[in-house]
Each structure stands twice: as C-alpha cells, then as structure tokens.
Subunit: 301 residues, 3 copies
C-alpha cells in the first residue's frame, strides 16, 4: 500500500502547500472548477452532529463531481457487528473509495483511519484535538483581511481548552507569524502553550485595544460534565458586547467558528458590527474544502 | 440581502404564476428538463418522517442537476449546540446554498427560515399549517381530470382540523372557483372557515351524490393525544367503501394525499375504483416539485 | 403492471444470465461503464446497518448515473403513519422510482416489495434468508481464482444456520458444480441441506486438507438471544489460525463476506495469509452490483 496524502492536522501541509491551497481556494471561489474529482468515491463519516462542516464538505465534493456516500454512525458495522475501525477503513479502500472525511469525538480517530486506509483522509474534527479545515478557513479569512499576518495580534477568547478549532488555528497563526493571545478564565485556558511563545491572558478588557482580530469560541458544554464557571461570571468577563466592541481598534475584525450562542460569548451587537466576519468564514469553507480535496487527490499542478 | 422567492403557502403564487407552474409541470413530465439547477446547492431538512415528499423532492432536485445535501435533524447544530434557527439559515446561505426545503412539525417554521435565509425556501409541510406543493399536485390532478374547476364540487373528508394539506388545498380550490365542502365529525371540523363561503357538512352520505371529487384525509393521530372519536364511529360515518362509492356520480374521482390507512378512511374497494387517482397525484409530485424549484430559482421564462 | 426483473435470490438468474452478469462485471471493472442508468431513480432502503453493502450499492448506482435517494427507516411513513409496505412500494413506483434496493431483517421482505412495486427490486440481505449480490461476488472471486468450479471443494465454516450469505452462496456453488462442505458445531449447522448432496462436517481439522476454498462466516450474534456455544469451544474447534492454515493445500484460498471478528472466526495470521481473498471480494462488490443493476434495467445487450 502506498502512502496517500491526508489532512489530519495543519502540520500535514508545508508552507508552500498551504499557499497553494489558498491560491486554489481563490480560483475555485472565482469560477467553479469542474469535475476535478470525477470518478472518485468519497465517504463522509460524521459521528458527531454538524451543520456547517457536513454541508460544506458535501457541497465541495459534489461540485468537484465526486461520487458521494454519507455513512451515518448507525449504518456502520463498527458498532453492532464488532468490526474494528481499521478493518472498516481497509474495506472502504477495497470498495474503491478514494477519500474519507471523518468527524469523531475521539482525538486521534482520523489518524487511525488514515493509517489503515488506502486513500486520503480528511479530519473534519476529532474531539478536542484538531479541525484543520476550519483553521484553514479562519486563516484564509484573516489573510484576506490583512494581506499578511506578521506582526498582527490575534486573540482567541473563551473555552480554548476544549476547542479543537483553537488548537489547529493557533498552529497556523504561529506559522504565519501572528502573535497569539489566549484569553479566558483559568478553567478554560491550557497551560502547555505557555512555553511556546504564546501569551496567556485572563483580562479580556485589558488586552482588547491591542488586538487586530478576535476569534470567539463557543463553550463546548458537551465536552464536560459540569460548567466550571457560572454563566454570569463568563458573560461579565468575556462576552463580547457593545461596550467591549468600542474598545477595539478601528480596523479590528471579529470571527467565530460557529455555531455561536447569542447571549453567551457574544451579544447581538456583534452580529451587526462592521468587522464581524463569521459569514465570510462560512463562505470560504466550501472553497477551502474543494481546494483541500483537490490538492490531496491531484497534488499541486 | 435581497428578497428571494419562496413558497411557504399557496398564496405566494399569483394566478398567473400558478398557471405557469402547471404549464412547466406538463412540459417536465413530457420530457426531462435538463440541468436547470446546475450549480445550485439544495438542502433538504426534514424534521418529520416522510416517504413521498422526501423522495419526490430529492428526485426533482437531482433531475434538475442540483447539488443535493440531506440534513437529518441529528446532523443539525440547532438541537445540541444552541444555535438559533435564524443563525442556521444565515449559515446555509453563506455556504452558498440556494434552496432549503423544510418540513417541521411547528407551524411557521419554514417562514422563519425564509426570513433569515438568503435564498429560496420551500415549505414541505409545517405541522397543521400548510403543505403547498401537495396542494399544487392535488389541484393539478383535478385540472387534468376536469379541465377547469369552476362549478365543480370538491369534498374534503375526515380530519380537516389537523390537516395541513386540507388548509393549503382549500385555498387553491377556492381561487380556482371550485365549491369546497368540508366533511367530517364535529371534532375534526374547523369553524373558522364558516364565513369564507365554504360549506361544512357532517353528513357524508347526504352530500356524496353532489360531489365531483373527494379528497380523503388520514386521521393525524400523531397530532393529538387521544382519539376524539371511536374508530367504529369514524368508519361508520366517514369511511369510503363499496356502498358509498356506488352513490358517487359516474365521473367522480377520489384522491388522497397519502399515506392512507386501509380500513380507516377507505377500504380496499377504493383502491380498485376506476376513479381512484392517488397514484396519479403521487406521480405528479415530482413534476410539480421540479416546476416549483425551477420557477423559484429561474423565474418565468 | 408488467412484471419487471428483480433479484431476490440467486435462482432468479439463469445460468446464461449469471454468465452475462460476470462478463459485465469484468468489463465494468476494466473501464467505467458510463451513465447506463441515466435518468433512473434508485431508492436504497436499509432497515439494518451496513457498511460494505450500502456503500457499494451507492457507488454502483452513482457510477451508473442513477438519481440516488437513501430512505432511512426513520424517514419512512411505514412505521409511524400506518402505511403498508405494499402501499409504500406502489407509491415509490408512482414517483417514477425504477429500482429499490432493500435490506431488512425479515425474510421475504424484498419479495413483498417486488410483488407490489412497478420496477426492479434488489435484495441486499433479508434476515437469515438470502443475500444474492454477496453470493455473486463470492462466486466471481472463486471463478477468478480457479477458472471453473467443477470438482472444486468449498468449505463454508461457522454459523451457517443464521447466515443469509451461506444460503445464497451454497445454491450458486452447487449450480456451478462445486462440492460444498458445511462445517461447524451442531448448533450452527442446518439439517435440511443433508439430502441435497451437500456434505455436513463437524470436524474442521479433518476436512481441512481436502478444501480448495474456505468461506469463513461471522457468528450472527444479533440473530439469537444466547450464544449456544462458548467462545472457547468455538475458537478451539473452528477458528482459522496459523496452525490450521498450515494444513491447507498450497493453492487454497480463504474468503469471508465481512465484517469479520478478529479473534473469533479467524486470527490475525489469516489477514496476512497469501490466499486471503477478502479485499478482492469487497472490491468485486461494486462491479457485481453495477452489472446486476444494469442487467435488471437494460437486459442483456
């Protein structure tokens, strides 16, 4: 079995490949690329619910002309018939499937698929670990705004600890030279980033005026048993609202990987804010995923 | 955001547009129309189970060349991640989705989607409220039979109160000049139609010989806690059977939106009756839905 | 309604048709066949979970250009709205659906669909009864290996009693002249095959050196309440392992319909065995299903 290219985390792309994916995204958004995946079988296995990521992968695959099969968890022999994940992956390869897009709550699950599968695997989110296509569209949105990220300061606010998006995005931002500030209450802040040249900040208000971009995060309630901080405390310290928006630099932008919870990490004034870029991020999701799939299968042209 | 055309209830179509949709249905049934929705993303969100409507929308979309994504309720971040319906709709718009087809048990749900979504929404049934594409295929079937509906008498029999089909169909029939008779036991009859020039009738047998067409309805047991009438009473007063078929005018036809419950609202003799049009209705469902989707997206040509 | 060709069990194909399906499989594997089902609606109704069969039917249909609709059990009005299976089948026919692929735990279910449906039905597994496309790909794999099956000895090992695969495959093997040996503990062996010229064997080790091919079966735990034999007894008597592999003829092959349970019916040494043909079987699944669908719809050319 020859090793195929997969995208498990952002590190799987060299700087040159990253630039290529962004270049293709721009091309694909400008004009539909045609059937670059014609004849390729593509299986989406989403073990966790998803609106944005599921829909955008489906659209990206269909627009590239792939043969798309959605395997719901209940369809899988994994659970009920005692088949190992590795054997399911081998089997899909033997069926002629070329691409597996997988979301699972277990960190490392997509990597296990990739090791067994004779094809390309795209991680569409694995628990608290990584979500590389989300990171790509976040960074693409930032690059579109600022041209380059060197010297830019990006604040990631909220439940950083349980956010796979944050983990992937932080790596990408560092690689492109941005300064990353992780902001949140003690209970949501990771400690292992401390020695990687990343700033940790508990005081959102204090750091607000220095940021070029803010990435708000949803509190991942499904990832812990009990909320470690009261809603009131969180809102008071970290919700982005009109008062805090007023502290931002004039050209600063606000992003969110979605879904966002109105009233918690943001209030409605954010949704009307001129620098609110959420819908742009979502929009780039389809182009980014087309570019990733095309790159994995067809390589650089 | 510019306002796009949606189909929430039959009133959303002018008489001229109604005629156009029927004309296109005839054309599309005669010859496959080709990829009129090529490049358009179409999301089906069915929060209630459906065989007929789900399958016919899927077939209509695929036959028009759309990129079709089926979002099952469990896929949606709505439920588990606290996203509002409006934000889901905005998000799908940003993903480049052009059409949302939505079925939900909550009346007004598709309208809420339409208000937030930058695209076209088709109501595929919202609780007891409306089901406009079903009404369109009902009316198309009647027009095919009778040429025009002026002066024709159409009886709608059974659980009119809980039937979204009845509500939409009644409006359409009135607009086209048919006389509508609502027939059923007290508990299933609405009262607010009384002053709209619609006849209410409890005596099915008495009115039978005057009807040109009968639309039988299924008792929507899923919409109430306790059956307000015994099965025996219902069958005795309202089941269409051989004896009652014999009272019909010779050219009268019998319709049903499906699914029908053999033994309750009809017995097997109806299924062999020369005027039974259920399968024709079902057949027109695909053509009608192709015509609606094409009209909403491409307008009149 | 004219009778359409369906594939409920292997007996539905004459020897000549069987040969034709195999010939087309070879052609379709060599070069993609193009849109032989263009314009045909195809509904997959899987009432039991499936990875292999579901994915391979989907890929086969998409590669032939069919309009593919997947109806999950929860989508069906069958369960919640009291519609009979026959009426669902009639309805799908009226919608213009040409092909129904159905898996259900109830033996005879696909046959019931076929009797009511004005189109083609393919049985994708009905309880313990039959699984004809799996049998076809098993036989195709054997033919590919041995050229012809006359005089060849094929051992089917394990839970033969609850295996629909075994039932269909046994018929096919007999028709092609192979000697069939059913091997397993008393509790898993059928008795009604005794007088059909099939050998029943409880001693796996004794018969091993005479076999040209072995078909291992999964113990269908979901089909009985209590395991009628301990895992240790089963493993000791019937698990294929390194020691038993060494007893095989040099050119013998080992097959499995999948999913297989490592540690039960086989150990990991089988997966590295030169004669292990599981992935070939899986691979042929797509070609076989394309060939079957094409044959049912388009006939012999």
């Amino acid at each position: 079995m020859r090793i195929r290219r997969s995208l498990i985390d952002l590190d799987d792309l060299t700087p040159r490949e990253l630039a290529y994916v962004f270049e293709r995204t721009e091309q694909f958004e400008a004009a539909p690329p045609g059937a670059l995946l014609d004849g390729f079988g593509c299986v989406n296995m989403f073990f966790e619910e998803s609106t944005r990521t599921f829909t955008s992968f489906n659209l990206a695959e269909l627009r590239l002309g792939a043969a798309v099969v959605n395997l719901a968890p209940r369809d899988l022999s994994l659970a009920t018939k005692g088949e190992t994940l590795e054997d399911t992956a081998l089997t899909l390869g033997a069926l002629g499937v070329s691409i597996i897009v997988v979301r699972h709550h277990e960190p490392g699950f997509p990597q296990r698929v990739a090791l067994a599968f004779d094809g390309h695997v795209v991680n569409a989110g694995d628990g608290v670990h990584a979500h590389p296509t989300q990171a790509l569209l976040d960074i693409y949105t930032l690059l579109e705004e600022f041209g380059e990220l060197k010297g830019r300061s990006v604040g990631i606010v909220g439940d950083v600890l349980h956010s796979r998006v944050a983990h992937s995005t932080i790596r990408g931002l560092q690689r492109l030279g941005a300064a990353v500030v992780l902001i949140g209450p003690e209970c949501f802040l990771p400690h292992d980033y401390a020695d990687e040249g990343i700033t940790i900040e508990r005081d959102f208000d204090g750091v607000l005026p220095q940021l070029d971009a803010i990435v708000l995060l949803r509190i991942q309630r499904e990832r812990f048993v009990e909320m470690p901080i009261t809603d009131e405390e969180y809102v008071s310290g970290y919700r982005l609202d009109e008062r805090r928006l007023a502290q931002l630099r004039s050209e600063a932008i606000v992003m969110h990987p979605g879904p966002y919870n109105r009233g918690m990490e943001l209030d409605d004034s954010v949704l009307e804010f001129a620098g609110w870029r959420y819908l742009k991020q979502v929009h780039h999701g389809v182009g980014i995923r087309m570019a990733v799939l095309d790159f994995l299968v067809n390589g650089r042209r």
